[in-house]
Each structure stands twice: as C-alpha cells, then as structure tokens.
C-alpha cells in the first residue's frame, strides 16, 4: 500500500476499510429484510425468523446432527485432498517435463463442471458417506495440486543444493526446504481446496444422501420451510467464513497474495 493510500485510508483517525468491512454486513441485513418484504416471505425468511429457526434447530438437535455429519465428511475429504494434492503437486512440480505435461490436463479437468460426474461417484461409492467424501475430495484436490505445482517453481535451486550438500533425506528436504519455500502459494491452494471440498460435500448431500446439512436442506425445500433453510445457510456460511478468515490472516502474514498475484484462480 502506498503512503498516500494509507493516509487517505486513515483520515481523521478512522480506518475507512474497517468501517466498510463493518457496513457491508449491515447492508446485507438491510437488503435481506427488504427482499423478505418484496417477496412477501415466500422465498426469504427474515433475519428474526431465521434466528428463531436456528435456535429451534439447535434445541431440536437436527442442526447439530446434520452439522456433525457434514463436518465429518468435510474434514476427512479435505485431509485426503490436501495429502493427495500436495503429493501430486510436489511430484509433478519437481520436474519441468512432468509439470508441462500435466498442467493443462489438471487445469482442464479442474474447470469442468464436476457436478456432472456425480452419478459416477454415486455408482461407485453408494449412498453413504463415502460418495460424499470422494466427491468433496475430487473438488478439493485440484486447486491444492495446481497451486502446489506452480509454487514449486519458486523453490530455489541453491536451496536444494544446500540440502543435498548437507545430506538431507528426501523427507527432510521436503519438510525443511520445499514446504517453507512453497508455503505462500500453498496456503492459497489450501484455502481454495477447502472451499471446493465444502462445495462438493454439500452438493453431494443435496443430490443423494440420508444425512447431513445438504440433505436436510433439500428436505426443508420439499416442506417449504424457508426459515429452517435460511438457518442452515447461516450455519454453512459461518463455517466457510471462519475458515476463510483464518486462511486470509495466514496469507497476508506470509505475503502470499502479493507474491502469487499472477496465479489466476
């Protein structure tokens, strides 16, 4: 940020960005309430109705049950996506040849609407948790792999030579030299991977499941219970927001967004 911009932002001792960040949610609430009025409560439940549905859901237990299921699937799928994505990204990124061969393939596969492939996941993994985990994993593994692979180009040859001359094992080189080098790009991949895994899990639950918040949401659509649907949305948004705020903090601490600004994803 330039000095001038910093001065403009902090005029009169008020940080205008902070004010903006506060005003936007307030604006959202206002628009939300307005939409409720416009659609006469058919498509949207108001903030108050949503809140009481939220409290009701917690008391009745269906919210916690669904959330527990969704979170279990999310955590398992995400951990597997990170492990696989990191491994793929580092393996391909270690070689100019293999990264050139696989980059268009990975990006091409990443950009197809993966939801069209859900039937295959359903046939292979059946109706239970497995199909949702596999589908979430399939969403999340690509950004982790692609960003890891492109971050691998930032690993310095000199550093790798130092590692070799000090006779580091492969694992030591990975943990002590490669991971710290690629971390700024990696955290962006981890955030995008989380968001897409989350999307994949909820989509999977909405299409074919007997449990989870996505499934519960579809149930309430059938019942036309708009306030409960909104309560679920609030919970899902809260989960995504908390995780993303954490990642954003990590990214700005690592200077990730500045350094990897050329990665368009």
């Amino acid at each position: 940020m330039s000095v001038r911009a910093a001065v403009v932002r902090r005029m009169d001792g008020i940080d205008s960005v902070r004010v903006g960040q506060f005003l936007v949610p307030v604006g959202v609430l206002v628009v939300w309430q307005a939409l409720v009025g416009v659609t006469s409560g058919v498509a949207f439940a108001g903030p108050a109705a949503t809140f009481s549905a939220l409290v009701g859901g917690i008391e009745a237990g269906w919210l916690a049950t669904g959330l527990r299921r969704t979170m279990t699937e999310l955590v398992v799928a995400y951990v597997l996506a990170v492990v696989a994505g990191l491994w793929i990204g580092v393996a391909l990124g270690s070689s100019d040849f293999w990264s050139d061969v696989f980059e268009p393939i990975l990006i091409g596969t990443y950009s197809i609407p993966k939801v069209t492939l859900f039937p295959m996941f359903l046939f292979v993994f059946q109706l239970g948790m497995d199909s949702k985990i596999a589908f979430g994993w399939f969403h999340g593994v690509f950004p982790v792999a692609i960003l890891t692979m492109s971050a691998m180009t930032t690993v310095s040859d000199e550093h790798l030579k130092v590692a070799r001359s000090l006779r580091l094992s492969r694992w030591q080189t990975f943990r002590e030299v490669i991971v710290p080098s690629i971390l700024p790009g990696l955290v962006i991949g981890l955030r995008l991977g989380f968001n897409l895994t989350f999307l994949g899990i909820v989509l999977g639950e909405m299409f074919a499941a007997r449990e989870g918040l996505g499934y519960t949401l579809v149930e309430f659509i059938a019942g036309g219970q708009i306030d409960r649907i909104m309560a679920i949305i609030v919970v899902l948004v809260a989960v995504a927001a908390v995780v993303n705020v954490g990642f954003f903090a990590l990214e700005s601490r690592l200077g990730a967004r500045e350094r990897t600004a050329d990665i368009r994803m």
Binding site: S156, E158, H159, K161, V162, R164, S165, L166, R167, L168, Q172, E176, V177, P180, S181, L183
Partner: protein
C-alpha cells in the same frame, strides 16, 4: 589432502543425447591440508561444474575425487560447500540458518546453540542471531552461509564465487575476514572465482582454467607473504602476479566469450589463434 584425479565431465545435449559438451577434461589437482587454493577461469569454463563434481552433487564421467586416499562418492560430510548467492533460508533466523545442518543431523539443542553461537562470533555476526536473512545485506548473508558450512566442521571447504554478487569494497573486507577465519580454523579451502585480484589476495596457489573443455592451463604458486593486508594489494609483486594471471586468462576469456555467443570455434580457427 584433497586429490582430483583425471576428472572429466561430459554432458549430453538434445533429446537423443547424440551431441555432447565436454565441460571438464582431465582435471588433476592436489590440495594439501590447510592450503588455500583458488580456481580462476573464464565464464562458462566449467568452474561451477567442477565445484559440483568435487562436492558430490554431480557425478564425474571419468576420474575420481579422494580425501586422504578415501574416495568421495556423493555429498560427503568431510566437504562443506558455500554457494554463490541467495543460499540462506529466508524463513529461518540467522542462528537457525547456522544451526540448520546440525539440527538435520540430530545434534542436541544445547550443543547446536553453543556451536552456532561460536561460528556466528567467528564470522562477526554477533548480535544478529535472531535477525532474518532478508534484513541483512548480501555480505552479511554470505557470512551466514559461511558459518552454516563451518559449523559442520568439514575437512575441506569448497566455495563457488561466494562474493561474486558483492560490491568491491564489501568483497575486500569479507575477503580479509575469510583469511582470518581460515587462519583461526586451519581449514583447507578450494575457492572458485572469476576475480583475479581476489584469487591473488586469498590463495596459496591459483589454478587457471582454460575455456571449454575445462582443463588446468597452469597452476601458479603465490609467494606473496602473509598476512596480506590492503597495502599488499598495491605492491609490485601483487600487481605482477595479477598481470601474469591476466595474460594466462585473456585468450581463454576471449574463447569463452565466443562460445557464450554461440559462435562455434572450429578446428581451423583454433589453429589460427
């Protein structure tokens, strides 16, 4: 004692590896314990290849490297390497950088701290233990790199143009520092550089490399008495030696430049020169 015996290195070019480049061609050298030997040569003569072959990072096509009669096969704990530039880890502090190799080798925390502090003192970075390399100048970063190598207590220290990226004043100062460290530790140093003054300032002997294929054109003894200070550099003996090395190097540098520019030196034009 470090012995290089008929070291040769040939690279294959292109996908089919049919055409080859001879980077090193029959390098022989013996470096005695405690000796400071420099290797100078024109750009692209294979200095850095030689550095990597001795350090075990690259295999020689032919020949061998021995330390006290024992063959060096791959990266070796008896050899410490100092690289050109930007080799410190920016995500670690100065002391963590220096202690890095010890930590990777399972040395206890207390011992790591003690030995790292000792080396930081030796290279003159006391007070910067907790600084980040990103906050330090290029010269200070190279001190960190030197300390990181010294702390492993190698028998032989290989340095590949370690001060190449520094300005002349800094280079002189850190060169003097290196001589002091060399005296205090009794290390054996093999120092690669393209800077003739630097080679004369530092070394006991100077090996002049030819343009590709790299071989030793001549090895010159440097009899200028030690300790050598800044005044030494204005003496006649110093300038004579610099002049002599430059004469040796000049035609090689021209050949090296022609190779860099992609002009093929045919057998005919070689005969002319």
């Amino acid at each position: 004692m470090l012995e290089l015996r008929n070291l040769s290195k040939t690279y294959g070019l292109g996908d089919d590896r049919t055409s080859t480049i001879v980077a090193l061609d029959g390098i022989d050298l013996t470096v005695e314990e405690g000796e400071f030997v420099s290797i100078i040569g024109p750009t692209g003569c294979g200095k850095s290849t030689l550095f990597e072959v001795i350090g075990g990072l690259t295999d020689a096509t032919e020949g061998r490297v021995d330390i006290d009669g024992d063959r060096v096969d791959g990266p070796d704990e008896r050899i410490g390497m100092v690289f050109q530039d930007h080799s410190t880890f920016p995500w670690l502090s100065v002391i963590e950088n220096v202690a890095f190799g010890l930590r990777m080798n399972g040395v206890s925390k207390a011992e790591r701290r003690e030995r790292a502090h000792e080396m930081i003192d030796l290279v003159g970075l006391s007070g910067f233990e907790d600084a980040s390399p990103t906050e330090l100048s290029g010269g200070m970063n190279q001190r960190v790199a030197i300390a990181r190598t010294l702390v492993m207590d190698p028998d032989i220290i290989l340095m590949d143009e370690p001060f190449g990226a520094l300005d002349e004043q800094t280079r002189l100062i850190i060169g003097n520092e290196l001589l002091r460290i060399w005296r205090e530790t009794g290390a054996t140093i093999l120092f690669v550089t393209h800077n003739i003054n630097e080679a004369v300032q530092l070394s006991d002997r100077i090996a002049v490399m030819s343009a590709r294929p790299g071989r030793f054109k001549t090895i010159v003894d440097n009899d200028i008495p030690r300790p050598r200070d800044d005044d030494t550099m204005s003496t006649e003996a110093f300038n004579d030696l610099v002049q002599r090395l430059w004469t040796e190097l000049k035609s090689e540098s021209r050949k090296g430049m022609e190779q860099q520019e992609g002009r093929t030196v045919t057998a005919g034009s070689e005969a002319d020169s």
